[in-house]
């Protein structure tokens, strides 16, 4: 192999790349929040809802879980214009990730709801708690503890998932790496560096989330 690594051209562009990392985190965060909202609503429908709404939610969830996020975004970005809906690449990515997240988070949250313990609620009822108090003091703490690890894990996965936004020209971390590559042709160097950035960022996020989980919910979460 006759290749000399030249990281020299990359270091000055590091702030630019890290700016992309920040955008990645933002996209993931927004999509996650949207996904939680969708997920909570749909999980509630699946647990408590009537026949037709449950069916509709089911179709949504099953469809988005069984198809790739990339192709979902392709459809939103390239196919919707034929029907008069024009999304920018950023919006298409965000919408695609949000809908995708909504489906997965529906399943996660449904499992969480179903983990509520009948015996604890009955005990609370007998002790005179109102329905609202039962939810606040008995159900919510337990469900939150059960939900926190899988939700944290999915958030990390979503942060990694933002990298496909580069395909649509969004200038998050991978997108900016492609730009730097086009300028400098130092492909191995720039992609190695962003790989390390992804690892560091997700490790940091895992640590923070794990510590928060252990502190707030006493949920024992492994970091590595």
């Amino acid at each position: 192999m006759d290749y000399t690594f030249q990281f020299g051209q990359i270091w000055p562009r590091l702030p630019y790349l890290l700016g992309g990392a920040w955008l990645s985190l933002q996209i993931a965060f927004l999509a996650f929040c949207g996904g939680i909202l969708i997920g909570t609503f749909c999980a509630a429908v699946k647990t408590f809802g009537g026949g037709i709404t449950r069916r509709i939610v089911n179709v949504y969830v099953v469809f988005f879980i069984n198809t790739p996020q990339l192709v979902q975004i392709y459809f939103l970005y390239f196919a919707l214009p034929d029907y008069g809906i024009f999304l920018t690449s950023y919006m298409a990515v965000l919408l695609g990730m949000t809908l995708n997240a909504g489906a997965y988070l529906t399943e996660i949250q449904r499992a969480g709801f179903e983990s509520r313990r009948q015996s604890e609620m009955e005990a609370a009822e007998v002790l005179g708690f109102t329905r609202l108090q039962q939810i606040r003091y008995v159900i919510l703490p337990h469900v939150a503890k059960v939900l926190f690890p899988p939700l944290s894990n999915h958030y990390i996965l979503m942060t990694l998932g933002t990298s496909m936004a580069a395909i649509f020209g969004v200038e998050e971390l991978t997108g900016r790496a492609l730009n730097v590559n086009a300028e400098t042709f130092r492909s191995l160097e720039v992609f190695s560096i962003i790989a390390v950035v992804y690892v560091v960022v997700t490790l940091f996020a895992s640590v923070v989330l794990a510590l928060f989980g252990r502190f707030a919910f006493r949920a024992k979460m492994r970091i590595v």
């Binding site: 029907y83 991978t174 992609f191 790989a195």
Partner: protein
């Protein structure tokens, strides 16, 4: 809507269907290849992480770093890294080869974690009983732990296989002729994006959904045998 169906009907020529089939087969094959080889290498990594003693510390560290690294780098980035690595090494390999190497690297990392969790799910006393009878680590894993752990390993491993089918869509970006690439080609050849990607979405669904139902049944079947 009627136009759409008409268009899809026009899309269904012999060669297009063959092309779609090729894409579907490549998609499944990529994921299967990554999972099978990844399972083998992943098991080796998992065992490496379970060794103890000062001598094997480097091995443990390497296994840990590899696993964490390839689990925390996006598929696309690993794909590009492999692509450029081959390019700069002067090796003229097909895009499919690059795709295969990528899926094996990533599959190894994820399956190493799944296997390790499975091995550790076996009660510590099973390990202790073997140790006190002078079983080596490999003997313990081979005769006692793995036979008990596989029921804990298989459901998440199969789940990963199904997930990987969707992740492999990204291989289309370097030109691997899998399902998404076929969709892009149709779109470029003049079919509407809605028809092209719509059909691709449906085919992915038809691959993924039955497999996930099977996986759920598998999990149910293996759960009761997880008794001590």
């Amino acid at each position: 809507m009627g136009d759409l169906f008409r268009e899809i009907w026009q899309m269904a020529t012999y060669y297009n269907l063959l092309f779609l089939a090729q894409g579907a087969v490549t998609t499944i094959a990529l994921s299967a290849f990554g999972c099978i080889l990844g399972g083998l290498f992943g098991t080796l990594l998992a065992v490496a992480r379970l060794t103890d003693g000062a001598m094997t510390w480097p091995l443990r560290m390497l296994a840990l770093i590899f696993t964490e690294f390839f689990r925390r780098v996006p598929f696309l980035v690993t794909l590009f890294l492999c692509f450029f690595a081959f390019q700069f090494a002067g090796l003229d390999v097909s895009t499919l080869t690059v795709g295969c190497v990528t899926v094996v690297l990533i599959g190894t990392a994820f399956l190493a974690e799944i296997v390790r969790a499975g091995l550790q799910s076996v009660h510590p006393n099973q390990w202790h009983a073997a140790t006190t009878m002078n079983f080596s680590l490999l003997q313990t894993i081979r005769y006692v732990i793995l036979p008990q752990a596989w029921t804990v390993i298989l459901p998440p491993a199969f789940g990963f296989f199904i997930l990987f089918i969707k992740d492999s869509a990204l291989a289309s970006q370097i030109g691997v002729v899998e399902l998404t690439y076929v969709g892009k080609t149709f779109s470029n050849k003049g079919f509407s994006a809605a028809a092209s990607f719509g059909v691709i979405l449906v085919i992915y669904f038809m691959l993924s959904y039955p497999l996930s139902r099977f996986g759920a049944k598998l999990e149910k079947k293996l759960a009761p045998s997880r008794t001590r």
